[in-house]
Symmetry: C2
Subunit: 469 residues, 2 copies
């Protein structure tokens, strides 16, 4: 049985301002209606004999992963929470140990959550090719047949032919432009995609041999893991002791059983806005326009507007314009790799825009800070049916709630009462309160906060169904 | 005595999205803290013996003009309301008739409200030069010494020298690039600035002679004008009967008493974003950045962000990026004249973004539509001290008001009560209500509307201190 392992730990800084630490690119609907993560899970589920996926993600994203799997009605998944990023070798080791608990002969298909694959049939065919190779104890990597002399990827040189695959002759680092061209002209090189297939047991064997410190730390951390709701919480102290390394460096370049299955499947790692533009369907002017956009005499641009906002371009070429409720990026398409520099600047300046969106997702729903003044803040709050915020109080702010859709059950100190559309209540400073959606449709309300300090950290939680108290 | 006449009827579509029909460029602080209109009034007031200004503007902008004059503590101004735009010849005729009521020998200094003048001393000097010429019955136009072979302006060829001025030899239309270059090389041509000086009586004389239909219609409309608060309301039916024409075509090109006073005074008509960029101080990279902007490797750009929004640029040159709460423009600087095309598209599509900003100014203050859903809308409302909204009711919506700053006097059917910071009230559908700021500081409140129809036109006004009932 194949067990899909979805690596969802990336932070996607190159797709700022749409992708941010708190909601990175794999969880966004960047190509189509579902997120890249959901598309990856869906793609894996369409293979023949596959088990429930194992997802490895950051603790910060646990509710996003659970929610997006729930939307897809995918049950039985294991969601492994990394206490800190340690790169792919330890993450895949966690998944391998989880897979071995299910089945000592488990074959893992390791897929980054943020890749786009246009041609699913070719991808499936490649996985079918790889399965007997992996079963035969090889560690298989999928090599993407290069479409251009890309300098942003590592390359794999194919060696002797095996049945359904090739032995890996060499992994080579990201080349300069002329070397990349030479690789493409040679015909014997493929892009290193970061997708793999191997037996879980074989991966651990090779990790024990070539990166014993990682293997030891991960085994110890996994042994102390705790199950919590749908999640497998990895022990932080022991996991953080693991060296940080990629599967390529730690295992694939060192094993003598590395094989490559070449594939052409419309693959993109969506590593930049330029890559997303390249992978997208475009209009006759070479533009990809999403949302409320008017483009006059503009060519080869990617333009995205956010809800309730119009973006207009006039006489521009080769631009990326990404508009969000609190930040807009205008970049030369060729320079879109440098978005990372910008995010580093935001980080250094301690600005929130690299971490949070204006709209923040919580396990119970979301809130959007729609206005802010010196002593007040206005939020639109959406609570999912059946969900509840924690029982809480604030030291520095009072709150007004006006229900605009659905029904709220409000706890205010000793009272519990219902509010329906167009009803409101007041929560004085210091009152212990809770908001619950007891209905069958989403509850939407407008919250007006007033007080001298309005930070998210002015909250005392007494009870929380999501374990945050 | 000189009477400044400020022509404020322009719609400023080339500076969209900052300039919109409801709040056009002359009323915006495009260069410095005060608006172009205010800078024009201020500039005129600094001349020696000047009277209170006459402002000619659209009826739609009457409260903006009154408010901006009040901010400057300018009293005694006449604000003439044009029922419809009829170009400059009729507008100046209205001002001339008003000036003649004050003083039969009045000399008018006609200034468009949306020009920028960097060098006030040179401007003052030119006006001093022009005064004796105008007093001597000439119609004076100010000719800007050309700084480049501009194709966007008409030119004036200087004729024989008069004392302090030149006779106008010829007005020439906007030239093509090579003709413009020839005019500049020739040295005998100036840009037609649209600023004039003449006796009010002489202007009417020439208008009677050369454009009698305009003169007759304007005289009839002015005779039926009504004074209303600070405003002179022109009779619509008779005024609309006037032909639409510019002072250049109707009078200046026809009179044999046209004189030109050449001047170099850092003049710009801010006719496009490119013109504003050219007139602005720039950083070492040639950028003019306003608001929360981060520009990486960007050159010769004009970038403006609005409140609460970050705009970032990477690796772009010669761009204009104008960000507002509901619309963002990204244009090649060279193509910024084509903003007009875009506005025409918005007009044709019946979109509100060419008329209104998200924040709308009213005589009593302003409101900003900060959020909107299917059956609700949230507004931030600011009421000026002493101001009041009309006594009104709505057929399709109920409203919640939460005061976040200042004190409100609320009328709700038979009741009248005060609300202070952090207090709220509810106005059921159909209730007759009024909001008044009885305090000394601005009143800010959050209004949550809910109902099946939320358009601005669902309002029945019973009483209004601004004459809108």
């Amino acid at each position: 049985m194949i067990i899909p392992v979805i690596l969802s730990g990336g932070s996607g800084t190159r797709l700022w301002p749409l992708s941010r630490k708190n909601l990175p690119k794999q969880f966004l609907p960047l190509a189509g209606d579902s997120s890249l993560f959901q598309q990856t899970v869906e793609r894996a589920s369409q293979l023949g004999d596959v088990g429930a996926p194992i997802v490895v993600c950051s603790d910060d994203h646990r509710f996003l992963v659970a929610e997006q799997l729930l939307q897809m009605k995918v049950g039985g998944a294991s969601i492994i929470l990394e206490p800190a990023p340690r790169n792919t070798a330890p993450a895949i080791a966690l998944a391998a140990l989880q897979a071995l608990q299910r089945d000592p002969d488990a074959v893992m298909l390791v897929l980054p959550a943020d890749h786009l694959i246009g041609d699913t049939a070719s991808f499936q065919h490649a996985v079918e090719q790889a399965l007997p190779v992996a079963t035969n104890d090889w560690l298989v990597t999928f090599g993407i047949r290069p479409e251009a002399a890309e300098t942003g990827f590592g390359y794999i040189r194919r060696g002797e032919a095996l049945e359904h695959a090739f032995r890996v002759a060499q992994f080579v680092e990201k080349p300069d432009a002329s070397t990349a061209q030479r690789y493409v002209d040679d015909g014997g090189y493929d892009w290193n995609s970061g997708m793999f297939m191997f037996k879980a047991a074989r991966y651990m064997e090779e990790l024990d041999r070539h990166a014993p410190a990682i293997a030891a730390a991960v085994r110890a951390a996994f042994a102390r893991a705790k199950s919590d709701l749908d999640f497998v919480r990895i022990d932080p102290a022991t996991f953080i002791a693991s060296p940080e390394d990629s599967i390529d460096y730690a295992v694939m370049e060192k094993t003598d059983r590395a094989a490559v299955v070449p594939v052409s499947c419309g693959w993109s790692d969506i590593g930049s806005w330029a890559a997303l533009w390249a992978a997208a369907d475009k209009d006759d002017s070479g533009n990809r326009l999403e949302g409320d956009v008017i483009a006059i005499d503009s060519r080869n641009c990617l333009v995205r507007s956010s809800e309730r906002r119009l973006v207009a371009t006039i006489g521009v070429d080769d631009l990326v314009v990404i508009d969000t409720p609190d930040a807009t990026l205008v970049a030369s398409r060729e320079r879109s790799q440098d978005v990372k520099k910008l995010v580093d600047q935001l980080k250094a300046a301690g600005r929130p825009e690299h971490v949070f969106h204006r709209k923040v997702y919580r396990p119970w729903g979301n809130y959007d800070s729609i206005d802010m003044g010196e002593r007040f803040q206005v939020k639109r709050i959406v609570v999912k049916p059946g969900a509840a915020l924690s029982l809480q109080k604030h030291h520095h702010r009072a709150e007004h709630w006006i229900v605009v859709s659905g029904t709220a059950e409000v706890t205010r100190d000793e009272e519990v009462f219902l509010l329906s559309e167009n009803q409101s209540t007041y929560l004085p400073l210091g009152s212990v309160h809770r908001l619950r959606n007891v209905g069958k449709v989403p509850l939407e309300l407008i919250e007006v906060q007033s007080g001298s300090y309005l930070g998210e950290d002015d909250i005392v939680r007494f009870e929380d169904v999501y374990g945050r108290a």
